[in-house]
């Protein structure tokens, strides 16, 4: 059996399995890492959403051989010890979860979004495809906005330099439309530069 090695939540792991075994089952059945959930197996429910080299990916449709030598982060690796990620904190404050099954994937998708853009618009949030069968979407939306504000707030203020160009990846520019910025999102906009700095710091810490 071939062996594949990759970094999982900061630690090097090795898996003895065929190269075409999906990462989801390598994580769950070989490594006992069960945060990423099976919901469809074909990348349409997104319940398994995790990060590969800091970007959202779906382990259910990624072969084990394709993560060799790379950096995988699952929901288990998001908090730093007992210190939750601001997105996780926002999820608790907004009391988002009902059954909770999709929420690891929702949170990883939100963290990835906030890495791309510190001040996501409603259109950006609409583009998150993760299914929540309990229908908690509105609270997810509110939690993402609260997390964006939370990540901007610590160094926010008049000295922060005011609005700047958000850290938006190509293809992620907000669509024009009747989107209405909320107070939370507005506050985040004021500190976009600071937030961008924070997010980059976070990127480096996780890498």
């Amino acid at each position: 059996m071939p062996k594949y090695s990759f970094t999982l939540n900061g630690k090097t792991v090795q898996v003895d399995a065929p190269g075409d075994l999906s990462v989801l089952w390598a994580l769950r059945d070989k490594l006992g890492v069960t945060g990423p959930k099976y919901g469809c197996g074909i990348n349409v429910c997104k319940a398994c959403t995790s990060h590969l080299n800091g970007k959202a990916f779906n382990p259910c449709v990624t072969d084990l051989r394709d993560v060799a030598g790379k950096d995988v982060t699952t929901i288990e690796g998001l908090a730093k010890g007992d210190q939750l990620h601001p997105v996780q904190e926002a999820w608790l404050e907004q009391d988002v979860a009902q059954c909770g099954f999709c929420q690891p994937g929702q949170i990883m998708a939100a963290v990835a979004l906030l890495k791309r853009t510190s001040n996501p618009t409603d259109e950006d949030i609409d583009a998150i495809e993760n299914v929540c069968r309990c229908g908690s979407y509105f609270r997810i939306r509110e939690a993402i906005k609260a997390a964006a504000a939370k990540m901007a707030t610590p160094v926010a203020g008049p000295a922060a330099g005011g609005p700047s160009v958000p850290d938006v990846a190509p293809g992620q520019l907000p669509a024009t439309g009747p989107g209405v910025a909320t107070a939370a999102a507005g506050a985040a906009a004021l500190a976009a530069a600071a937030a961008t700095r924070l997010l980059r710091d976070a990127d480096e810490t996780e890498a």
Binding site: A17, L21, S22, L24, W25, A26, R28, D29, K30, G32, T34, G35, P36, K37, Y38, G39, C40, G41, I42, N43, V44, C45, A47, V61, T74, I75, E76, L78, A79, L84, W91, L92, E93, D95, V96, A97, Q98, C99, G100, F101, Q103, P104, I107, D122, D126, A127, I128, E129, V131, C132, R133, C134, G135, S136, Y137, F138, R139, I140, R141, V180
Partner: protein, 763 residues
């Protein structure tokens, strides 16, 4: 101040039966319990409407029936334990699938015992056969059925701790109090953990056991976030598939037939499959061919590579059109109209429950018995059924209840646990079974399709008669009341699962229909009846059972009646509401959602109302249907009256969930049955709402306590929202929606039937 009797008198519409029931409930709960709510007639409530005689669901609903069935075992239901560290534990004999019941029960215990909420842990009890009919999680009945027993048990625990404190200190019980987990008084302060041993003594001299007056509640009734949320957001919460309770669990998947209830004729390539990587065993079971492997990935590969020949299923010739024909044939016609009438004929497609966690179970079955682990809402009958199916003695199978990844009615049944047990017995090893999404959607249970004939007869500017004839594919209630005797009584026969048992099914369905469906309006003599078509398909109760379709259709007609009478739909509902509580909720919701706001062309508001299980709710949505094929609900305002709200935060969650269910099933989510199997196989095809379909603005208001007893919560939010979404769509597009979901093309390439293939994804 007035009591409940006074409230009933004020409402002027409820019969004496209601008062008697409440009296009994109060007596059970506590002699000191009293309610202090002043009711007056709301402006806009006219008395010229034609009253409707009380309906069964108003006097004695399904929840009352379930509570009554649980009475003989009620004193054993809730067991509270205090450990030496002062932590309080309760293993709740109900199933948590996202409703927030473990948090709500912890709140009741913390409230009654005066211990910090953080010190109370509520877990899920395994199947407890001695509870008989009192371990079924359904009918929105958990908080209704555990409210009094939990408070009583917590109050008794507190009384024991105070008595032990009195014994230790010599201070009379009356001068001691329990505060924040300490027994205090006269300068003493003893952690309750230090008193557990003395408190457990059978010879302890006890003081009176009194539950708190709800007016003294400091925790119950205030918004509380979920206690299990941290485990969820860190990935630590263990669902069935995340557990390894015994070593050496083989991963099991089942290759299923190309039609519902088809059976295996032969396996063609058994030897080749057994040589595949990680594959350990194959077994033919009543529902297909089980493949066992080291990982689910390998089991899935082998399942897809299997070549199997199949015998016919039970509905191979059926499709949505033929099923609709059958429903029309069994429905009783309305008869000639006796005057001006507003009429509608409605159709609702099958809807998969589609919980995020597919049917999943672990089973370890040995020659003399064993254990199953799964998210189960009826664990007693699950174990009993497995015992009978495998020829094991009664009491030999333990059902361990795990927290479920959603249910929406699905986990009333134990299809996964039964199948896992059969496989474990067949291969002689412990197994972990998971259904693929495709199988869960095509072979899992669904809400039955239904057909509706609704008519309101008008005379003299009023509604003088209301008729609603429902035809539905039979809903499977074989979980009964959660125990084998009533389960057999509800059997209608399904060759793949359960031996045919005569009779019972129709009676059970009629009982559920009659004890849940009522009209909230004074529309004169009212007839609501159910006619069933017995098609051997996999159905089951879906959130709000008959109400989503039945009451949803009625709320659409209500708007059309108002229009025919030249009245505003919200004012009309207030005018005809049977109960001042209803009128108050409708009025509040209209205010919350700014009913009557002028909107651009293509946008519209819609309103719906629903009452069941002693609760009621109104929903107002705004829709953007400028493109009628791509509508989006943009805003929602919802108001709920739960009699006695325990955790408003959790109730808001349930209303939000009901709204999303309604948006989905009204606009785009349904199943196309084609040659005996659903075409839809995953979320890319079954269009349950995603973030882009959900409103960006939602306001929810929970009414303060109105009756003093908790009403049902989990299912309440769906039917009113169905009405609101459909009515908004109707107004925005100038159409009369009659078939649901409204937008329902086969806009995908179906997965090949019988292969269960999911590796390649046509989108």
């Amino acid at each position: 101040m007035t009591d409940v009797q006074g409230y009933d008198d004020t409402s002027g519409t409820d019969a004496a039966g209601t008062s008697r029931r409440r009296f009994l409930t109060y007596l059970m709960a506590a002699p000191t319990l009293a309610v202090a709510v002043q009711y007056g007639l709301l402006d806009g409530v006219a008395d010229a409407v034609v009253p409707t005689q009380p309906q069964q669901a108003e006097n004695f609903d399904l929840g009352d029936f379930l509570i009554l069935a649980g009475k003989p075992t009620e004193d054993q239901l809730i067991v509270i334990e205090v450990d030496k560290a002062g932590k309080v534990h309760c293993a709740l004999p109900r199933e948590e699938v996202g409703q927030g019941i473990t948090t709500a029960v912890a709140m009741l215990i913390a409230e009654e015992m005066d211990v910090p909420l953080a010190n109370v842990t509520v877990t899920l009890a395994p199947g407890r056969p001695e509870l008989m009919y009192n371990q079924l999680t359904g009918g929105s009945n958990t908080m209704r059925s555990v409210y009094a027993p939990t408070r009583t048990a917590a109050a008794a625990t507190k009384a024991r701790l105070l008595a032990a404190g009195a014994q230790r200190t010599g201070v009379p019980i009356s001068r001691l109090q329990l505060r924040a987990g300490l027994v205090v008084g006269e300068g003493h302060s003893i952690p309750i953990g230090d008193l557990t041993q003395a408190a457990a003594s059978p010879t302890l001299a006890m003081g009176a056991v009194e539950v708190k007056d709800p007016s003294a509640f400091t925790l119950v009734g205030r918004p509380q976030n979920r206690k299990d949320a941290r485990a969820m957001v860190t990935g630590q919460l263990k669902y069935t598939n995340d557990l390894e309770p015994v070593p050496g669990l083989l991963r099991a998947m089942v290759r299923r037939p190309p039609t519902i209830n088809g059976t295996v004729k032969a396996i063609v390539n058994e030897a080749a499959i057994k040589k595949m990587p990680g594959v350990r065993a194959l077994a033919i079971i009543p529902t297909g061919v089980a493949v066992l492997a080291d990982t689910f990935g390998q089991a899935l590969d082998a399942k897809e590579a299997l070549e199997v020949t199949w015998n016919a299923g039970t509905v191979d010739a059926e499709d949505n059109a033929s099923i609709l024909d059958t429903l029309k044939a069994v429905n009783a016609p309305l008869g000639p109209a006796l005057g001006d009438a507003v009429e509608g004929e409605f159709d609702f497609a099958f809807v998969n429950h589609a919980p995020m966690e597919t049917n999943t179970a672990i089973a370890d079955i040995k020659a003399t018995g064993g254990t199953v682990w799964a998210g189960m809402k009826s664990p007693i009958v699950a174990a009993q059924f497995i015992e009978d199916d495998l020829g094991l003695p009664r009491g030999s199978v333990t059902a361990v209840v795990t927290q479920g990844g959603g249910s929406f009615g699905r986990r009333l049944f134990f299809d996964g646990a039964l199948e896992a047990a059969r496989i474990s017995k067949a291969v002689g090893k412990p197994v972990k079974l998971m259904w693929t999404r495709v199988d869960d959607m095509r072979h899992g249970r669904a809400r039955a399709a239904s057909h509706h004939l609704v008519r309101a007869t008008l005379a003299g500017g009023d509604v003088v008669r209301f008729e609603h004839h429902v035809a539905s594919v039979e809903t499977d209630f074989r979980h009964g009341l959660g125990e084998i005797m009533t389960a057999n009584g509800a059997a209608f026969g399904d060759p793949a699962l359960i031996p045919i048992s005569a009779g019972g099914a129709a009676t059970f369905s009629q009982s559920v229909f009659g004890s849940t469906i009522k009209s909230p309006y004074n529309f004169g003599p009212t007839t609501q009846m159910l006619n069933e078509a017995n098609l051997p398909m996999h159905t089951g109760s879906f959130r709000s059972v008959y109400s989503a379709n039945t009451r949803g259709a009625e709320e659409i007609i209500v708007d059309e009646i108002a229009k025919a009478l030249g009245k505003d739909p919200v004012a009309f509902r207030i005018e005809y509401a049977k109960d001042p509580r209803y009128a108050a909720v409708i009025k509040k919701c209209g205010e919350l959602g700014a009913w009557g706001t002028k909107l651009p062309s293509g946008f519209a508001q819609g309103f719906g109302f629903h009452a069941e299980y002693k609760s009621c709710t109104a929903c107002l949505v705004e829709i953007d249907a400028r493109d009628p094929k791509k509508p989006r609900v943009t805003k929602a305002a919802i108001v709920g009256d739960y009699g006695l709200p325990i955790n408003p935060r959790g109730l808001e969650s349930q209303l939000l969930g009901g709204l999303t269910d309604a948006i989905s099933t009204t606009l785009r989510a349904g199943l196309h049955i084609d040659k005996g199997l659903a075409l839809e196989g995953s979320y890319s095809q079954f269009h349950f709402a995603r973030q882009k379909d959900a409103p960006r603005e939602v306001k929810i208001h929970i009414m303060p306590a109105t009756t003093g007893e908790p009403g049902g919560a989990g299912e309440l939010g769906l039917p009113s929202a169905v009405g609101a979404v459909a009515n908004a769509y109707a107004r925005a597009t100038g159409t009369k929606p009659r078939r649901f979901p409204i937008i329902f093309p086969v806009d995908f390439t179906p997965f090949t039937k019988g292969t269960g293939s999911t590796r390649v994804q046509p989108r």
